[in-house]
Symmetry: C2
Subunit: 350 residues, 2 copies
């Protein structure tokens, strides 16, 4: 019998993209599809593959008969409800941070470590953080051939990493600074936002329009942010390299959706640009945009809304042996969240 799929958080930003992905697949392996959300959204009607569904309220009984439950809800909601889904017999695929570093929960990127999805003693599989995910297809392909040893990464992260609230805030800030000629005097952007009546409280800790903000996530020890430590710890777990050396600096930029990363990656063996190009071209989930002679490279606004990871600006480091520098763009709501979660479910359904 065709398995039953549940989407928990079906009415959120990522849940909406999950439904869009399901609507655009040629075929899906599911029998029933069940949409689950908080009491506030229960009763809402959403059309999935031509059929109207009514959103049901999150409750233990909502998981009865469910084979795979995709979760995109806050950490504390996942922490409480993913085990409930698992108890009722579902495999929970969770996109929160609640279980990612749990040694009994695999952290899965299908094109890198699909086999890990079968080792899930808690009945829970975790989906990585969107920043880490943006570079995993590219690094997984390179690691298999050349043995990754070190990573220095700087991010250019989109506003939608902070959800719909982040998107709305950035768009409101852009409207507030447009035509004002600000950005040439310290604090004049902040003054323009205040003059437009935007609340001083923002998801970004500082103005994001006409600015970049070297802070993402929450405060951790020794000067690091949670986002920077996730890049380090999740990369190690997904790639299966417990001693991978990682330094990450996570920076928010005024882009709506799609995270970009400047990656400096050192391998056990020498790797040329041509070898890297061939690997990227052979990987169905990567699109190579790297024609240096004609100035072709990926940008977030050029690839947003697309499924693949886009890679370009591939260079052999001039002074570091066995090292590549490259630039990668990935839609943080798709491969960075909804798409990878859904691909894990597809892997399980096979």
């Amino acid at each position: 019998m065709a398995p039953t799929l549940a989407i928990v958080g079906a009415t959120g930003a990522v849940g909406t993209v999950m439904i869009d992905i399901i609507n655009n697949r040629e075929t899906v392996p599911w029998g029933e599809i069940r949409l689950i959300a908080s009491a506030r959204s229960a009763g809402k009607k959403i059309t999935v593959r031509g059929q109207e569904h009514t959103v049901v309220e999150l409750a233990p009984e909502a998981f009865d008969g469910v084979d795979i439950a995709l979760f995109d809800v806050p950490d504390e909601v996942s922490a409480q409800w993913a085990p409930v889904a698992a108890e009722r017999g579902a495999i929970a695929v969770d996109n929160s941070g609640a279980f990612r570093m749990d040694p009994e929960v695999p952290l899965v990127v299908p094109e890198v470590n699909a086999e890990k999805a079968n080792e899930r003693p808690k009945g829970i599989i975790a989906n990585p953080n969107c920043t880490t995910l943006s570079m995993m297809a590219a690094l997984g392909a390179l690691h298999r051939e050349f043995g990754l040893r070190e990573l220095v990464v700087s991010s250019y992260q989109a506003a939608s990493g902070a959800g719909q609230e982040g998107i709305d805030r950035l768009q409101a800030e852009i409207a507030a600074v447009a035509g004002k000629g600000v950005g040439e005097r310290a604090g004049d952007v902040a003054e323009a936002l205040a003059a437009a009546g935007l609340p001083a409280e923002t998801p970004f800790k500082a103005p994001l329009a006409l600015n970049v903000v070297p802070w993402a996530g929450s405060r951790k020890d020794d000067g690091w942010t949670s986002e920077e430590l996730k890049v380090r710890n999740e990369s190690r777990k997904i790639l299966g390299i417990p001693d991978l050396k990682v330094s990450a600096t996570c920076v928010r930029v005024p882009v709506v959706t799609t995270h970009s990363l400047a990656v400096h990656a050192t391998f056990e063996r020498e790797v040329t640009v041509e070898q890297a190009h061939r690997l990227f071209e052979a990987q169905p989930t990567i699109v190579l945009q790297d024609d240096h002679d004609n100035g072709v490279f990926p940008t977030p606004a050029g690839v947003v809304g697309e499924d693949p990871t886009y890679v370009g600006r591939v260079r052999q480091a001039l002074d570091f042996p066995n090292t590549l520098d490259f630039f990668v763009c990935g839609d943080n709501l798709r491969k960075g969240a909804a798409l990878n979660t859904y691909e894990i479910a597809e892997t399980l359904a096979k």
Copy 2:
């Protein structure tokens, strides 16, 4: 007798900032100040320290009696005219790329290598590229104590790196996308720019509003851009470390003015965050904004228009020995161009 100062390119974006700096100094060591520009701007009246000056046309005689001539003009104009100024007895301080890598021309950042200003066989001193300059005060201070060995740098470069044309283009793009809800579908930003009637030709090779563009400067060999090679070669020359290992990725961001850099720097000796903080606090041209507990860090829109280099997010790398990660913001029109050029002139006048 007080020396005569000339400003060549006095009516340009950087020339204007030079005059602003002169107007705001408590005292200046100059007797005459002479403003020089192309025929198009000659005859224009500009007030400097309360006195009206008439801009004179660039010509050999314009340098007669000049002791120090500051140049901010295109590379080819500098290449032709800085030697003319030197022949007529002036010291030319040049902010173009024409002479930076000439072994007979010193590349000077006063707080790092002021003594080099005295070795100028051609009568020419070069001012570094603005991206390199943004991190030099911080790296110079660290290098003196700990011995810099390796640098991995990602930039977040402002639109004004492409001059007034770059500023105007970014502001026009921001106006074109404001309130349009674009940035969620590939190419919709570019469509909004076209719909607003903006020319497809841009200084940035791609839309900059709601985007980041991993390209700055011109195409060089092996996948590198001129800007990335400048960061490498100029850092080596200024710091006097011919074998410094450098990888840079230069990315344009939708910020009006002030370049930011995420720096991963490896030293000969161990360096703690506390030691780095003390060095930065002791350096008069650096402002430390690094209160991790309270989320205090520099951003470009927060410090634009200010003279110092702002440093924050200082962290000891978790996996790389003797390595610091930090974030730096510097106004690319001030310390990155006009200010450092003027500071070289002040050093010479002493």
